[in-house]
Point group: C2
Chain length 158, copies 2
Amino acid sequence: MTSTDEGHPAALRRDWVDHAITRISDAGHRSGAARRRVIGALAEHDCCLSAQELHDHLKADGRSVGIASVYRVLELLAGLHLVQRFDFDGGTSRYEPALPDGHHHHHLICTTCGDVSPFHDEGIERAIAGAADAADYAVDDHDIVLRGRCPACRSGVG
Amino acid sequence: MTSTDEGHPAALRRDWVDHAITRISDAGHRSGAARRRVIGALAEHDCCLSAQELHDHLKADGRSVGIASVYRVLELLAGLHLVQRFDFDGGTSRYEPALPDGHHHHHLICTTCGDVSPFHDEGIERAIAGAADAADYAVDDHDIVLRGRCPACRSGVG
DNA sequence: GTTCCTGCAAAATTTTTGCATCAGT
DNA sequence: ACTGATGCAAAAATTTTGCAGGAAC
């Protein structure tokens, strides 16, 4: 039932790029170079990236996108619910494409090596939905983080 | 089954203070004023506080504890698993006493007013335990955050 | 042609570190 | 007394903001 190591299918990520660009346009915004390039970079990765990582990635690509623009694009995307933002480690926020509901995932973080990997579990989704109904809040989003030692660190260290 | 608004019983928080001081001593550290005062301030609150909030709270108490010491005490406590650290909003980390397993809770965050409130749900705990078994990771900790609009914001705005 | 977007540089915010002094054992 | 803890101030890291020039519509 639980599946680790299930990145997002490539086709789904391409769809997300188109969807994001359309949605930005529908919301009355323009399609500038920084926006297109940040969206493209996000779609190239399976799991969450920091603003700095996106900036470095884009710089390596050839011409750079200003770090301030990276932050502004991420803020815009988050406002339109096109990316989800995660704050795992206090220092930096990480972002990843918000895919259709059936494909969202949560994160396992290795307390030894810091590795982050995605997982999905239907039992948890159902339990969350139940708790959301019971709460006074009108819940429309949730994050789940599991911490432990990853397979590599467990075998390596003992 | 889900219970919002269940702070930690006062007796449990007092026990936590004693436990924390003992544990710090056992780990070979001294019992300085900053440590005792930060621990005391943490125990006075139901839910998570930022370093700045702790610092302000202590300043209001009379003599102040340096902000650097607040951070250092929190780092020490987190290392000994005496507090749990949360990174909800990228900018600031929040901390709260780590109580015995049956009493830990998770958080509802209002997307409108930013209010954070604790909740506990057995169904989620069971689902998490199941997913942890299924994962390759040796899971020993988890956070859950539900986002939505709190009762006040729902009635006020909507 | 207008308006919004972008990049640079500067500012703001949060957290960490260096160092001299003080307190706990 | 010795060693570690504390506070202040400075530094580092991340994110936000102001503004001038350029691109999208």
